[in-house]
Amino acid sequence: MTVDTQISIGNLRCKNPVWVAAGTFLYGREYGRRLPLEELGAICTKGTSLEPWDGVQGIRIAETPAGMLNAIGLQNWGIDAYLERNVAWLREQNATIVVNIVGKTVDEYAAVAAKLSPRDADAIEVNISCPNVSEGGVFFGTDLRMTEKVVDAVRKATSLPVIVKLAPNTHGLAEFAKAAEAYGADALSVANCIPGMAIDIRRRKAVMGTPAGSGGLSGPAVKPIILKMVWDVTAAVRIPVIGVGGVVSWQDAVEYLMAGASAVQVGSALFRNPNAPWDVAQGLEQFMRDEGVSSIGELIGAARP
């Protein structure tokens, strides 16, 4: 049985709905030399800023029950380094490229977006939700007016599809989703890591190296929470929603799709299983065959009343 796994996000066409999440895949080389990137729906690059960022000094990783905390602080080498070092290689791999962008000001977001031509990226994911930086990041994603300003500025700076990565730690996430949609977002990623922390009981201090001692929780522990957010947000907007949080298996992906997501992103599952995104894509396709589902569209929102 032939199954059609293709999805569309604005003008972006993807072979399948299984992407890799920003921050877990850098710019693709570390994993993409083992398995073909072209077999994935898309890859979201490391969050990339106008200038290089050093990231958090201190502990950046802590394992938690059924998950992990990270506090990378968006370390990256800047958009110019991305353009010089990575675009050509990613294009050689026939990867569908979603460049995740970050900034400390609205103007910085717009400036990064403006540097990306259709040669350099197939879409832009606007990260307004990183919990581990003191400037930018989640500051833009937890203030409705700032969300509007950032999305508006990026929308005006690029003709590429714009995906806005929402913060999970807001009241009324649907309102942020609607605001992003109203200001021109083509799709929404729901969501980023959930703020969390761990205490080193011997040292009597927070484990993570951020000034606040906190980090972002990801992994299976967050999946039920983010799944509910996807359920709620897809009811509030007309644009596609991409589920991001705790996808480690194809069954997780199917749940997100049935909740209303048009695609999923696999993140920290890579650390345990470097084949995870490819395994999820294959498992999803097999599920469609087993269930007699000819088009992925039949699964999207299938669990909704």
Binding site: R29, E30, D54, I59, I61, P65, R272
Partner: protein, 273 residues
């Protein structure tokens, strides 16, 4: 800040050089006081691994528990590498938080590994004229035992274990050449003094907890000695993609990629949490 990526010569596995495979535990045994040793049947891995490199190890079956760290795989130095037998081994502290499940792994258990990862000791480099002192603590002694076994050149080598070693170097090595000696010292101070008397001006390789290797690095730099040390950081991906193990001293490096064996000079200015 200066990135140390691609600035250091030496063994550098290609991006595609690591394997993701399931292996069978060939032997599980308690060695030393509280140390557990696992021997894995890992033929392909054993032909690629080098001393000082590491691998990530986790259970083959993923089942999130209500408590206990079991989501990520955990990093271990190779304690032995035997391409002939198709085996590698690791040692770990049975009481470590990550060991809650591993300590019960028995012969026949199937485990998943990603490796070999990172840059190891330059065991196959051209022989240097200077003698070599290997100085380790805890699990670092195991990594150095693997290095000792892997050395291709016949320079005078002394291995010092600060505290009881979790594993002893292969006794057969001592028969290979009279130039290899092994010692147990009570403290780093004692080991350093004995090493200086036995091998003045020796190059130093150190492995173990970073508080320990950082002290070794400081001593070696103070005496103008060539020195390589292992560094530590919490590891998530192990392949350089997540930037979770980035450390900063004299420049920045990914512990899993530019490390875990680094020149002592890099540790200048390192702040430990």
């Amino acid at each position: 800040m200066v990135s140390r990526a691609a600035t250091r010569p030496g063994r550098s596995p290609s991006d595609a050089g690591w394997l993701f495979e399931a292996y069978r535990v060939a032997d599980a045994s308690t060695v030393g006081a509280g140390w557990q040793r696992l021997v894995l049947d890992a033929p392909a891995l054993a032909t690629r691994a080098a001393p000082g490199q590491f691998m990530l190890v986790g259970s083959a079956a993923f089942s999130p528990r209500a408590s206990g760290p079991d989501y990520l795989k955990h990093p271990f130095f190779f304690a032995s590498i035997s391409p002939e037998a198709g085996q590698v081994s690791i040692v770990f502290d049975r009481s470590a938080p990550f060991a809650w499940e591993m300590a019960d792994w028995a012969t026949g258990t199937e485990v998943e590994c990603i490796g070999p990862l990172g840059k190891g000791f330059p065991v196959t480099a051209e022989p240097a004229a200077a003698p070599l002192v290997l100085i380790g603590s805890g699990y670092g002694v195991a990594a150095l035992a693997a290095a000792l076994a892997g050395l291709h050149h016949d320079r005078p080598v002394a291995l010092f274990s600060v505290g009881a070693p979790p594993v002893s170097p292969d006794p057969g090595l001592l028969g290979v050449t009279s130039r290899i000696t092994c010692h147990v010292a009570g403290t780093l101070e004692q080991a350093w003094r004995e090493a200086a008397e036995a091998m003045p001006g020796a190059e130093v390789w150190a492995a173990g907890p970073q508080d320990f290797t950082q002290e070794v690095a400081g001593r070696a730099l103070g005496e103008g000695r060539r020195c390589l040390v292992t560094v530590e950081a919490p590891i998530a991906c192990g392949v350089g993609a997540c930037l979770g193990c980035t450390s900063a001293g004299d420049g920045t490096w990914r512990t899993c990629r530019e490390g875990p064996v680094v020149p002592a000079e890099w540790l200048k200015g390192v702040k430990r949490p």
